[in-house]
Symmetry: C2
Subunit: 329 residues, 2 copies
């Protein structure tokens, strides 16, 4: 086996433990108007990045990953809470190839399912046995607060004029990176890591989280449609203020700038104009800037890892960072 496939095997082993917790989460599924859609959400799968990072972080400070399964499942349930509520707010029709809860059932059900997921996330988290339990719960809660703030900024940006790349970075720091950072930090806390190790893993998560979101923006326009599993250019069609759009707006001049402003003013473009905007992203250097930024965040995340003792888990975390850098979907 190659190193990569050994790393992947460990990732998958951790992932399987989380899946098992999630599958057994609801013992008594009544009232069914609540638990049927809730189980539907948890069964949708996904990469389960946050819980696996949490478990690896626990191992990287010398802890046993099995002690971190509850916290891992908790952070995945929490992530699903944000997806269900965000999908209502964005009126998204599908998620992971399946109809969203507020469409398949209704908005009231989706609100309540989200709330219940958040409660179950805490219930799962509190099953963790650790002298650090109060700090663990505080970190988790800071994550929830910032995710809400990030989502509020995201919605504000839809109508606010003059949003900058820096505004965008603050938003994704809260909406995406914070929770990845919290995952790694909680893993280190469950593993009883040193203050230095906890900090290093928190920052690892922070940089990974930023890279992940900018990569997401990049893939939306640059990926192979079949590989990505959804239409290319969705962000352009919706007029979403992504890293690429905001970077291009700052860099463009002349007719390119006019076209970008038009996209913002019209809140999106028809699908046939996607190639035109893709060209602007490349010509202005916005695409290259995104790639550089992703690489910088990944390198910083790997620098943080070097502060930790050399272990198998540390190697898996490094492999994971590189995998993110080169992901195509």
């Amino acid at each position: 086996m190659s190193q990569a496939s050994i790393h992947k095997a460990r990732y998958d082993r951790h992932k399987a433990l989380v899946e098992k917790r999630l599958a057994g989460l609801v013992k008594d599924p009544v009232p069914c108007s609540l638990y049927e859609p809730l189980k539907y959400v948890l069964a949708a799968g996904g990469k389960r990045i946050r819980p696996v990072l949490l478990m690896l972080a626990c191992e990287a400070v010398g802890g046993n990953a099995r002690n971190a399964v509850h916290a891992g499942a908790a952070i995945e349930i929490l992530h699903n809470f944000t997806l269900v509520h965000d999908d209502i707010m964005d009126n998204a029709g599908s998620r992971r190839g399946r109809t969203t809860v507020h469409i398949k059932w209704d908005t009231n059900v989706a609100i309540l399912v989200g709330d219940e997921l958040l409660a179950l996330a805490y219930r799962e988290l509190l099953q963790t046995t650790s002298p650090n339990i109060q700090r663990i719960a505080e970190s988790f809660t800071d994550g929830v607060v910032e995710v809400c703030e990030g989502q509020a900024y995201d919605k504000e940006f839809e109508t606010r004029p003059g949003v900058t790349v820096n505004d965008y970075l603050l938003m994704i720091e809260k909406k995406t990176a914070k929770m990845v950072s919290v995952a790694a930090e909680i893993g280190a806390l469950v593993g009883n890591g040193s203050t230095k190790a906890i900090r290093a893993l928190r920052l690892y998560g922070h940089h990974i989280g930023l890279a992940f979101q900018i990569q997401d923006d990049l893939l939306d326009i640059m990926a192979n449609e079949a590989e990505l599993g959804k239409k290319i250019g969705g962000d352009l069609v919706e007029g979403k203020k992504t890293f690429l759009l905001l970077e291009a707006l700052q860099r463009a001049t002349g007719s390119d700038k006019d076209l970008l402003k038009e996209l913002v003013a019209s809140k999106g473009c028809p699908p046939e104009r996607i190639p035109e905007y893709k060209k602007i992203y490349i010509d202005t250097g916005a695409e290259a800037a995104a790639r550089r930024r992703i690489e910088r965040e990944i390198n910083r995340s790997k620098q943080e890892l070097r502060r930790l003792p050399s272990t198998r888990a540390q190697a898996v975390l490094e492999w994971f960072a590189d995998m993110l850098l080169h992901r195509t979907y």
Copy 2:
């Protein structure tokens, strides 16, 4: 001063401490799309029953009420989270005489404000210093889970045929009584009470909570409109399956029964028919049954108090139970 006014003074002192925490909760109100409506919600006032009971329960086991202020504020913030989300689901236009969040702003804002309130509730709770912090957070979380389940039942009952008084009691146990019970239990945990005392206070809260909700149903039809501060008979107009309606349905025969079934089938009645249904509630003995049930729950709550040592806080809790029994708004 009479005993009652001494008790009331202590209630008000505790309430003032909670109000102070709530008023200072948001230090940095950005993003404003989130924190402006959130502060609006917390400033709406209210009786603050749950936090005051929590603080009194802490004192009743020998603890210092000031140590319970964070947990008290937390349970009030949590209560406000349920109000904001319930108002969306019920499409309620006003609450405590003010426009609801989803109407004054929009549904997306109200979803996010509710989520953030829940997160802030945990943040506040976790500021509690107690060796029981994990149990406190678990009890709090059980409360959130059951409130969601109760709300799910409440929405299910709107369309489900054959709802019984027992179904209703299960629903209000989850939707209302559980959180009052959790408040009293957490107070006892913060005060480091004995297992027996914790149990007694939990049950005190449970019975008080049930009595409170049935009293609410009763006041909706029997109160003085000016005193209640809202229109009489709102539950009948909406066709809500209250204790009174379900009890009357089980007791009525002949034309009374037909009229009640018609109310359910038409999902409510015009306001001018309220007196007719009020008469049925009285004639069938449903109103008397509600009064008996309230009295029974209040007596049980007071029985639980007798298991505690005789203290000022215990006397205030007893006074509070009697006040609930005789409340007119």
